[in-house]
């Protein structure tokens, strides 16, 4: 693993403007990913995971705006780039495996045609024949029969479609792939084999990844580093082992408590009471304070600082869990 940062996100803030006011979906989030590293983003639904993913590709709806921050991809800030420029960086440098793989393919074209058009757009020097060979190799890599290239999406099963989506994401040799809940719609067995496939491929191609899931178990399996999101903010960021052994933020701790451990001792699952806040009117200070068992006076007044706890472990909390 080299030390070069493929992507660096600094103080990213993204808002949706709605009729009722601005919704801050991503608030002051920073992280960076090195070549070959996988970052997992975990959090409840609506905490801004997908918003981050879409911001990274700048695939935002018309009512969304990146208010501040930088997204430095291979040394170049993407935020000020106009759409036409941005288009050239998509897929060739940063690609995505979508949440809804079922509908990620256009039903009227063969899967092969839809991958070829991406290669044609970004790698115009590759001939049609070479592109086809490349796609067949990708299909073998993700565990699909090469004949499937000429099939239509409706002839694929859900798991096969997810594999094809992964092959498509790899087609232009991107430096980083964002996988947004890539296995949520699949059954556990297919889910597991696809996760294994992705991690193998990632190692083999030395690619960076952003892994987005609400499922702590999935994140634990695939990522080297984990960022915990809550209500649009990142509350904790650390290496995977570290965060599971030594969660600092009360929310991270609660999240770990609410999932069963397969290998560890049997324990009672603890559900976190309350609901994530309405992002139209987020709570003052720490956004987690209304649900926080460790709340102190300061929490509803001031936003906690992003503090370094050593060993590359960062957390934003006024009253962290006991560190032992």
């Amino acid at each position: 693993m080299s030390t070069e940062n493929v992507i660096e996100v600094k103080n990213l803030t993204m808002e949706y403007s709605t009729r009722k006011g601005n919704v801050s979906a991503v608030d002051n989030v920073s992280f960076s990913i090195k070549r070959g590293q996988a970052l997992g983003l975990v959090g409840e639904s609506g905490c801004g995971k997908t918003s981050i993913a879409k911001s990274l590709l700048k695939l935002l709806p018309d009512n969304a705006m990146i208010q501040q921050g930088q997204i430095v991809l291979n040394g170049k800030d993407m935020v000020p780039l106009p759409e036409e420029e941005m288009r050239k960086h998509r897929w060739s440098e940063i690609s995505m495996v979508f949440q809804a793989a079922m509908n990620a393919f256009n039903p009227v074209y063969t899967v092969g045609d839809q991958i070829i058009e991406a290669i044609e757009t970004h790698l115009p020097d590759v001939s049609e024949k070479d592109a086809r060979v490349k796609i067949e190799n990708l299909f073998r890599m993700v565990g699909l029969a090469p004949e499937m290239v000429d099939r239509y999406p409706h002839e694929y099963s859900g798991g096969m479609r997810q594999r094809a989506v992964i092959a498509m994401a790899l087609s232009c040799d991107p430096d980083i792939i964002i996988a947004d809940e890539p296995t949520t719609a699949l059954d556990v067995i297919v889910q597991d084999s696809i996760l294994k496939e992705i991690t193998t491929l990632q190692d083999r191609l030395n690619m960076s990844m952003v892994y987005i899931s609400h499922d702590v178990a999935v994140i634990a399996e695939v990522s080297d580093r984990v960022g915990v999101m809550y209500a649009g903010r990142m509350v904790e960021l650390a290496d995977t082992e570290e965060i599971f052994i030594r969660p600092i933020h009360p929310y991270t701790y609660a999240l770990m408590q609410s999932f069963p451990s397969v290998t560890g001792p049997k324990r009672e699952l603890v559900a976190l009471p309350g609901e994530p806040p309405d992002l139209l009117h987020p709570p003052k200070g720490c956004r987690f304070h209304p649900r926080c068992p460790n709340r102190i006076e300061k929490c509803d007044q001031e936003q906690p600082e992003w503090k370094d706890y050593g060993d590359n472990h960062f957390c934003a909390c006024w009253n962290p869990m006991e560190i032992n």
């Binding site: 809804a100 256009n106 039903p107 009227v108």
Partner: protein
């Protein structure tokens, strides 16, 4: 695929049979028959009229008359016209069919294509004055009373525009307001109008076939040559035809006369279905733009034009193509009115004329022909859908 088409043709035949029986009963339910025209003639007594009716086979029970009609029909005998006695109905219909068919095809293709293009761009660039203007135009054209539209167009083109052109450029453009040709011009013509018109139709058919074959072939050649073949086939077939008519055929002047006569009827019919096609394409395209695969296409960094045409519009066209079935019947009823307004001697005008003089055999024949045309239209739409949507392809 072929068994599917075979099955559909059998279905069509059954539908046609039912259609003919229903039409026969409906016409029979109308009061009076052709002998009623003789009622004012003092020389013909009631007994004489009854005898004529019996001679014409009008007195039998309904089922037996239907049976007679159908057996005659399927042995190629469509009866004779009472009004143009004893001209066979099949001969009348065959002279008039190409005229209606041309009108119908040209208007359907034009309105579908224009509606598709307009709807596509409206959905792509939303908002602004264009959206309001086009929506209002679309709804107006969709709901307007067809004869009113025809008269507005007559006034606008044949009167206002014509006099403006002759005032400004000094050219006598002379856009005709009705009929099929200008008799004074054709008096010196080497061929009659129907011959020249049939050449024009064959030419039109050839153009459509060339473009269609080029489109199909283009899917099997390397990508980079595809646009050249597609655009080339369109430009060459249309350009070549124009050159042939203008310089080689020697009847270009006469063909131009027919084209001038075709202009207003085609425009009217096109506009009637254009509004609906445009609005439907727009709605369908707006829905398609929300699909996940559009976001995938964006994420892949494809150029805007590719996303719009290859991904969004290609899928948005599916419901519009389905709706073509409904707009066919619209075009047919509109066609009857349009032909009547412009005295266009086609099937529609024939139908109206024959009904007004109780010319039973002609009316029945015209209605059957319209039924057959509709059924063929449905078949074409169904087959086209198989090509447009791989999900319903039968393996």
């Amino acid at each position: 695929m072929w068994s599917y088409i075979g099955k559909r043709i059998v279905q069509m035949f059954i539908t046609l049979l039912l259609f003919q029986i229903a039409t026969y009963i409906l016409i029979d339910l109308q009061p009076g028959d052709v002998t009623d025209l003789l009622i004012g003639n003092p020389d013909i007594t009631a007994a004489e009229r009854a005898r004529i009716a019996a001679d014409l086979g009008l007195d039998g029970p309904l089922p037996s008359r239907i049976w007679t009609y159908l057996t005659n029909f399927y042995t190629g005998n469509l009866g004779v016209s009472m009004q143009q006695y004893p001209r066979p109905v099949s001969e009348i219909l065959m002279t008039r069919l190409p005229r209606t068919f041309t009108l119908f095809m040209a208007a359907t293709i034009l309105s579908f294509w224009l509606g598709y293009i307009a709807g596509k761009f409206l959905a792509w660039k939303r908002g602004g004055a264009w959206e309001y203007a086009s929506t209002i135009t679309g709804v107006t054209l969709f709901t307007i009373f067809t004869p009113l539209l025809a008269y507005i167009l007559l006034w606008l083109f044949a009167r206002q525009l014509d006099s403006w052109i002759s005032d400004t450029f000094g050219i006598d453009f002379d856009l005709p307001i009705s009929k099929f040709n200008t008799p004074s011009l054709w008096r010196r013509a080497p061929y009659d109008t129907n011959t020249v018109f049939s050449w024009m139709n064959w030419n039109f058919f050839a153009i459509v076939m060339i473009i269609l074959i080029a489109l199909i072939v283009s899917n099997y050649i390397p990508r980079r040559y595809r646009p050249a073949l597609r655009i080339g086939s369109v430009v060459l077939s249309i350009g070549g035809s124009l050159i042939w008519w203008a310089f080689i055929s020697g009847v270009g002047l006469y063909a131009w006369d027919i084209v001038k006569h075709l202009f207003l009827p085609i425009l009217t019919l096109t506009l009637i279905s254009f509004g609906g096609n445009m609005l439907l394409t727009r709605t369908s395209m707006l829905e398609t733009l929300r699909e996940d695969y559009i976001e995938t296409a964006r994420a892949k960094g494809l150029p805007e034009g590719v996303i719009r045409n290859r991904h969004a519009a290609r899928n948005a066209v599916l419901p519009v193509w389905t709706a073509l079935v409904f707009s066919l019947s619209n075009t047919i009823s509109g066609g009857i009115i349009t032909e009547t307004v412009f005295s266009w001697p086609g099937i529609g005008a024939t139908l109206v004329q024959s009904v007004s003089v109780s010319d039973f055999a002609v009316a029945m024949g015209a209605l059957t022909l319209i039924g057959i045309m509709t059924l063929i239209g449905h078949l074409i739409v169904d087959i086209g859908y198989v090509f447009l949507d791989p999900r319903i392809r039968i393996h």
